[in-house]
Each structure stands twice: as C-alpha cells, then as structure tokens.
C-alpha cells in the first residue's frame, strides 16, 4: 500500500506564494494523519509570526490542503514493493551553505529515516546552521515521494500488462525507470561492494559556505529562473 517509504510517514510540503508584492517560500514536512483543521491553524500562526498580510492565510492553507489531498489520493493504491535501490542526489542551498551530494537509498526499507541521515550529515560535516538539517531531510523526502508516486504508476501498469508476462521482477527491472540500480549487477557474488577509489569523489558530499555576495547573486538567478 502506498505510503512514504520512511519510518515516519511524513509528507513533504512546499510553499511558494506571491501576493501583493510579497513572496513567501517555505518547505516542511507534514504528518498526514493530523486533522485537516490543523492546516488553517498552522497557516494563521505562520502569518502572524511572520507578519504577513492576511491574504496569505487562505493561500497557504489552500496550497497545503491541495498537496495533502494529492498525497491522500495515492494512499489507497498499491505500491510496487520489491527492493529498489535508487540514487538520491542533493543539490541545494540553505542560507549560506551549499550542498551537493549523491548516495543510494533503498526504497523498500521502511525504517529509513531521512531526518536521521540529515542529522548525521550535519554532525559529520560540522555544519552549524540549524536549518540545513531539515532542508536536507526535506530534499530527500521530496525525491522519495516522487519515486514512490512513480512506483504506484508502474505498479498499475504492471497489473495491466501482467497477463502475458512471466515474472513481475523481470518486467519491473525494465520498467522501474532508469533510476533503480540493477541489483543483480551490483551485488553479484564475485564483485565487491567497495567502490573503486577513483569513484569515491562521485559519492562524496560537498559542502560550501558562501559569502554574502555569492548568496545574493544565486538568489537573483533563482528568482529569474522561476519567473
């Protein structure tokens, strides 16, 4: 059954609202089992804390609600649940910290915890900005969410096309999207799971601290891109 393939079933919610010359961007995780009345409460509190004009309340609430409904629409459906190890890429900027990373994640591991990964990441890399951790966890969750949605779609396709096929596995590995790694190849008996040294840099995280000017320049470019 569909759910976020992590220990906590939290939905990533992204907000980007522009009204009356003010723009509010945010990203956070929401627990879909919270009652929907909480959405409006949250919107009101956010607007009050950030002193935004009150038009934002309805817009924020609406946006959250839409994303939640979308999540719930997937909920009843089946998800393809065989093991699937996908590469996750991080490429994000949080205030002055720029992060690029690349690693593997097992979609079928329902005890995986993006928040714990983010915590370890920040501790190991000595990141002091407390907003980086949640942003990293959010980015991971978002990607997992997308992949989960894709797997619902592919599960549907497979059901339809199952009638003549031999093994679902075989079909899956060809249909699972270019994302999934071919487990057979990687974990073969005579190959090693230790990567060759020359490949280490590919999977190594890069953390950069930017200066103010660089941040401003990047922000300007992002704004231009999103318009």
């Amino acid at each position: 059954k569909f759910r976020m393939p992590t220990a906590d079933n939290l939905v990533p919610i992204r907000l980007d609202i522009e009204t009356e010359g003010q723009r509010y961007k945010d990203a956070f995780t929401w627990n879909p089992s919270d009652p929907d009345s909480e959405v409006v409460v949250f919107a009101k509190r956010t607007v009050r804390d950030l002193k935004l004009p009150p038009q934002f309340i309805t817009q924020i609430a609406q946006s959250i609600q839409t994303q939640l409904t979308e999540f719930r629409s997937y909920e009843g459906q089946d998800m393809y649940t065989a093991e699937k190890i996908v590469p996750i890429k991080l490429d994000l900027r949080v205030n002055h910290t720029l992060i690029k990373d690349h690693f593997l994640w097992d979609l079928n591991n329902y005890e995986s915890d993006p928040e714990e990964f983010a915590r370890t990441f920040c501790n190991d890399m000595g990141i002091e900005d407390p907003e980086v951790g949640p942003a990293v966890a959010f980015a991971i969750r978002e990607q997992l969410y997308e992949i989960a949605i894709q797997s619902v779609a592919s599960a549907r396709e497979i059901k339809i096309s199952k009638k003549g096929r031999r093994g679902a596995e075989h079909a899956i590995s060809s249909k699972g999207g270019g994302n999934a790694l071919d487990l057979m190849k990687l974990f073969r008996y005579n190959s090693s799971v230790v990567r060759k040294r020359k490949e280490w840099y590919v999977y190594e995280p890069i953390v950069d601290i930017l200066s103010n000017e660089e941040v401003d320049a990047l922000e300007a470019r992002e704004d231009r891109n999103t318009r």
């Binding site: 003010q22 950030l50 002193k51 093991e83 591991n109 915890d113 900005d129 799971v193 999977y203």
Partner: protein, 557 residues
C-alpha cells in the same frame, strides 16, 4: 590492515589496536552471533543485496578505514562514499561497530549535544537541553518586495523598556518587524518597566528626573540638575521636571521581602481599600502597591477568586488545593503556567513526588495534580523516570530553594521539620504522617483564623504563602512516608538475611552429618581390613608350616 605482510627481510611490526573487552568476540575471519542478531537483515537471505559476504566487506572496510588513523574519529560520511548500498543500512552497520567499540574506540570524542550515539549508550539523564534563541531564526528572511533583497529586521528593544523586544536580525534596517506575537502574549504582562537612567552621571533616577525638552530622550537626575551638570550645550531652562514618584510608568523599583509581606498582609486585611493598604506599607504609594500586586504571581487571584478559600475554614488540604486549581483554571492558563513554572516548578515537582510515593495519601494530595496542567503531567512523568534517590535529592533542593526565596516559607518549613523530626523519631508508623499532616493542617488553621477577621466580602488570603505551606506539607508527608518505606525495607532485608543464614547453617549441618557417616564407614572398613590382614598372615604361616613339614627345601617368600 592490522598486520603488514610478512616480509622475510624486515622484522614484522605489529600494531596494537584497542577494542573494549566486551567486544572480544570479534574475529576477522568470522561473523559472530552478536553480529548476526544485531544485523539480521544480512542474514535472512531476503535480498541479494544483503548477504553475509557483503556484510563482512562493509565491516572490514569500515574497521580498516578507522585503523588507518586511530586517533581520528571516523565519520559515517567518510565511509559511505566508498561503499555501495543503501545508506540507511550502512549507517546501521556503522552504528553497530561504533557502539561495540570496534571503530572510534580510541578516537577523540566530540562534545556534541545532539550526538545520538552518545546518548543511546544508556544515558538516563534528561537530555532536554533547551537552547533559548533570541530573535527570529537565522534563516527567515521575509522580503518586502520581490525584487528587493533587503531582509526585514526586528527592531531593537526600545527605551520604553519593553524587554520583550528582540534583537535585530543581521541585515540592513528596512521595514521593522515586531517581536513574535506568541512571545508578547505570554510574557508581555510580566515586563517591568525600567527606570530612567541619568544621562550625565549614569545612575538610576529614582525620584525625579529632568527631561530635556528640546530633543526628547535626554534625561538627568535631580542631583545632576542641582549641581549644574546639564550636559553639553544645554542650559537650565531646557529641562523639564518630571516626577517619577507619582508617575505610573515607573515604580519605586525595589520591593524588599518585608515590604512584599506587609503588602500581602494588608491586602488580605483591607482588600480593595488601597488607601489603607498604602498606609500600612509605609514606603510605597497606592499605585505602587496595586501594580506590584498585579505583577505578583497570583496577585490577581488575591483580588479575585479567593472567596472560595475563605468559605472553607476547616483548612483541609483538599479545599485549599481545589480552590487553587479551580482559580487557576479560571485565569489565563498559559500565563499561569509560565509564572508558576518559573517560581514553583520545583515545589510542584515535589508535590508530585508526593503523589507517587504514598498511595495511601493519594486522596489528599491528588487534587494538586488534577489542576489539569500538562506541566504537572510532565513533571510526574519525569519523577517516575528517575530513581527515588534523585527525587529525594530534588525534594531537598526544592526545600532549600523555597527557603532561600523568602523568609516566610522558611518559617513554615522549619516549623514543619521540627514536627517532622518529633514525629519520625517515634516508633509508631502510621500515625506519624497523619500527625505531621494534622500539624500542618492546624498551622493552616492558625493562618486562616487570622484571616477570619475579615468580613465575608473581603477576599485575600496570601495565596503565595498558602501554596508554599501546602507544598511544605506535601513534602513533609513525602518525607514521612519515605522513612516508613525505608524502615520496612530494612526489616525485610533483615528477615531475608536471617533466612539465608539459616539455610546455610542447615546446609553445613547436613554436610557434617554426611561426613560423620563417612567416617564411621571408613572406620569399619579399616577394621575389616585389619582383620583380613591378620587372616592372611595366619594363612601364610600355615602354608609355610606345611611346606616345612613336607620337607620342601626351597620356598619362595
């Protein structure tokens, strides 16, 4: 690698790596049961990406990687880039090795509050370290216009002394953002307004200040004005006198304990008649009294809902606490909790400790925790989590803190302790706590009889004092009961030890008996042996005689 390859030309060097003794099961060539149990995923054959061989590779790689530089702490991020596999699973292996000391055993540990590994190694103390940050979180930059990159910053705390103004966020001063609404909701009323500070001599202007009327915010105190220290370029006429004494903005600033006590008593007696109250408290004006009273926690209660107090003259703890909890629910819960939290946290914690330990006393004390605040529940939870000796230490600390805060509770406590000491020294168990409680109750009655002078419409029992008395009583009860339990434990221990000794004795006895029997048997056997020996000797002699008789020349001995 642990050992370099053996080279016949050079002596092999062995490097020693330390691992804790509880990990001595570890072998390079093998996978131990501990590993199989902790990391089942690799050993249940559920996937081709998780096999024992793969596990061994992960493990060996991580340990070797650590041993390349044993003094440096190996981080997960350093190893995961070199290993193929799900990062969550790799992290699990890493954590396993870390906990068993197979990696990072000799490394410098980081002093990191949020390090989960350290805290998972059995740290039972509360690690809820709350960091209080001032200002909006660093990253929140609310931009006024889409094209402007200037962040909106928070205004500095103004000279009107509103201490809840937050520090400005880094950035240019654009549109000013007032402090978080939630903060001012909670703490706004508690803020004391500052007195004015003299611009020229730097002291507090207590009685009166002269305000520079041309420019606005320059203030000097009376002394400086008289002395002629007007500051640069200012003349006498420019100053305007403003009397702070009667000004509702400022107070006579310092309220000593004695004054507070006087105030409370006189409010208790005179209620709303502020003239009389102000007369009784000699150094403070009417307005001062009112504002101070409002500021006191429960000050509003004293003026409001203490009717219920007076209507129950029996002075039982129940009514006191019910009244208190009822009134607390009437008022602003949030504010109450915060104020209560600040001042009474310890005492309530101990009130709760009392609720845990003596089940027989639960009825009398329970209403306190039925006050309904989640704070209590948290405190209760916390006190159940820690051992009894911790709660006892906390109780002591709370008593000390309460005593230190004001002299009044000290009297109450000391009075309590005297009674307690007497009570505890007597051997009768059950009557003790009740006696202590009764003593306290009678003390309460005394207190209340004083207040009975007031007519029924007058409110005001010193709630503060009452609460403290109540908590003192609760603490007394807790102490008494703890002593009871301790005594009981002692007796049980003695009893059990006696049983043990008895059993040992019996064991020894039976052993002795057994050995006695053995001895007897041995003796008998010995006797038999001797007899046999004699028989044999006789037979031998017989044989020799016959041999001689028959003339055998040679015989064998």
């Amino acid at each position: 690698m642990e050992m370099p390859q053996y080279d016949p030309n050079t002596k092999p060097e062995f490097e020693l790596y330390t691992i804790p003794s509880h990990s001595s099961w570890f072998r390079w060539d093998d996978i131990h049961e501990t590993e199989r149990t902790a990391l089942k995923e690799f050993f249940d054959g559920s996937s081709i990406s998780r096999t024992p061989k793969i596990y061994k590779e992960y493990r060996d790689f991580m340990i070797n990687k650590y041993r390349e530089e044993p003094s440096r702490r190996l981080t997960f991020t350093q190893v995961r880039k070199s290993l193929v596999g799900d990062v969550s699973l790799l992290h699990k292996v890493f954590r396993f090795l870390d906990e068993w000391g197979l990696i990072n055993f000799g490394a410098v540990s980081r002093g990191d509050d949020s390090d989960n590994r350290d805290s998972s190694l059995g740290d039972t103390e509360l690690k809820n370290q709350v960091k209080i940050e001032e200002g909006a979180p660093n990253g929140v930059r609310v931009v006024a216009l889409p094209n402007s990159l200037k962040p909106i910053s928070v205004p500095n705390s103004g000279a009107d002394g509103s201490g809840n103004g937050k520090v400005a966020v880094a950035g240019e001063t654009g549109v000013k953002l007032p402090p978080l609404a939630s903060y001012s909701d909670v703490f706004g009323d508690l803020v004391k307004l500052k007195g004015f500070k003299c611009g020229s001599c730097g002291e507090q202007c207590n009685s009166g200040c002269y305000e520079y009327s041309k420019q606005g915010s320059f203030v000097i105190c009376e002394k400086c004005f008289k002395n002629g220290n007007y500051g640069e370029d200012k003349s006498k006429d420019d100053f305007r006198f403003s009397d702070l004494g009667g000004n509702s903005l400022t107070h006579g600033a310092t309220w000593t304990e004695a004054e507070t006590l006087l105030l409370l008593e006189s409010v208790m007696r005179h209620g709303d008649n502020w003239e009389l109250v102000a007369q009784n408290v000699p150094t403070k004006s009417k307005l001062d009294c009112i504002s101070k009273l409002i500021e006191l926690p429960f000050g509003e209660f004293m003026m409001g809902s203490a009717h219920e107090m007076n209507s129950c003259p029996t002075g039982s703890l129940n009514s006191l606490k019910e009244g208190q909890s009822a009134s607390s629910e009437n008022q602003n819960d949030v504010k109450m909790e915060d104020q209560v939290h600040d001042q009474m946290n310890e005492s309530k914690q101990n009130g709760d400790a009392a609720t845990e330990e003596p089940p027989a006393k639960r009825k009398r004390i329970a209403p306190l925790s039925d006050g309904g605040s989640t704070l209590i529940k948290q405190v209760a939870h916390i006190s159940t989590m820690v051992g009894p000796h911790v709660t006892a230490a906390a109780a002591e600390a709370a008593v000390a803190a309460l005593c230190n805060e004001s002299s009044c509770p000290r009297e109450i406590f000391d009075g309590d302790e005297d009674y307690l000491a007497n009570g505890l020294s007597s051997p009768t168990m059950v009557s003790d706590p009740e006696r202590a409680l009764q003593v306290d109750a009678s003390k309460m009655e005394e207190n209340q009889s004083e207040t009975q002078d007031a007519s029924s419409e007058k409110n005001d029992v010193p709630l503060n004092l009452r609460i403290r008395t109540a908590t003192a009583t609760a603490l007394g009860a807790a102490a008494a009961n703890a002593k009871l339990l301790a005594d009981q434990e002692d007796r049980e221990i003695e009893h059990l030890v006696a049983i043990i000794i008895e059993t040992q004795m019996k064991k020894l006895h039976s052993k002795i008996n057994y050995f006695d029997d053995l001895e007897l048997i041995m003796e008998k056997e010995y006797n038999e042996m001797m007899q046999l020996k004699e028989c044999l000797v006789e037979e031998r002699i017989d044989v020799l005689e016959r041999a001689l008789k028959t003339g055998v020349s040679k015989w064998r001995s």
